[in-house]
Symmetry: C2
Subunit: 167 residues, 2 copies
């Protein structure tokens, strides 16, 4: 249900415009999709670290020539498009929020945001470059979610173990 | 120079299509921009951890209501659009590559990719919610780079200190 027209939940606030209804400033191409065990949003784990599920990244044929060597990295960052997410909420009450108070969209990791791009740092378990598939652990999204990008995870820049988040 | 028409460097290979010339599958809105000290690509640091520069995130007025509370996180993930990057290379020789051999686009963090979305995990130093500005350390991009998203950095899911990358 893209750009879900349902009224906001209690305490939620919309942006003064709906980003999903704007003509947009740049265009994305879908380069593949993610195969996961989850076929409804209610089934998806709160985050990928809470699941041991092995998922498959399917890269479409025109983009497979960019894959060889990706297995030099033990972990990858996947960017994907949360195609079922509405985009119009400024303050929201995510289903998985451990805190009951609605929060600013930029304070949560919910798929609902002006540009519904999600990222996961996943463990790379195996590759078939000819078939354009990667086996990974650490995803949390719906089966069939469109893939936007694959990047190597560099612990020297991406890992911030001292980061903190107050409740 | 978007989608730079220059011929590839030695060893570089193009995709069979130019993703930047396709009609696209989804549309992005720019929600602000990044103010950095760097005005040419040659000046940008190789990555944000190599710079102590304090940069400013400018969030446009319609999106500022989603900011309050963002300072509960000590670090943020910023997603931004590398607006000067070509999108058509499958194998590339990035300027900053420490290895002299051209590599698959999904094996490097260069801005050149089918969807030129970059991410940085930055340290949050200060906020002015009314003005829509955040002061951060850890960026590496051109001044004026369009902003796509702001997310809290959650070390429990985003930090993978044991990740490795072979040279």
């Amino acid at each position: 249900m893209p750009n879900d027209p349902l009224p906001p939940r209690a305490g939620e606030i919309r942006f003064p415009l709906d980003p999903g209804a704007l003509p947009g400033d740049a265009r994305l191409v879908f380069i593949g999709r993610l195969r996961t065990p989850w076929t409804s949003r209610a089934d998806c784990p709160r985050n990928g670290r809470l699941s041991e599920a092995i998922c498959t990244v399917e890269v479409d044929a025109p983009y497979r020539s960019a894959l060889p060597g990706v297995d030099r990295a033990s972990h990858l960052i996947l960017l994907y498009w949360m195609h079922e997410a509405r985009r119009d909420l400024a303050v929201q009450a995510p289903r998985h929020n451990v805190h009951p108070v609605p929060r600013g969209t930029f304070c949560v990791r919910s798929p609902v945001r002006p540009n519904p791009i999600a990222l996961s740092a996943v463990e790379l378990l195996g590759c078939d470059f000819a078939a354009g598939t990667l086996r990974v652990r650490g995803l949390d999204c719906l089966n069939g979610t469109p893939l936007l990008d694959i990047k190597p995870y560099f612990p020297s820049v991406d890992s911030r173990p001292d980061a903190t988040v107050a409740e």
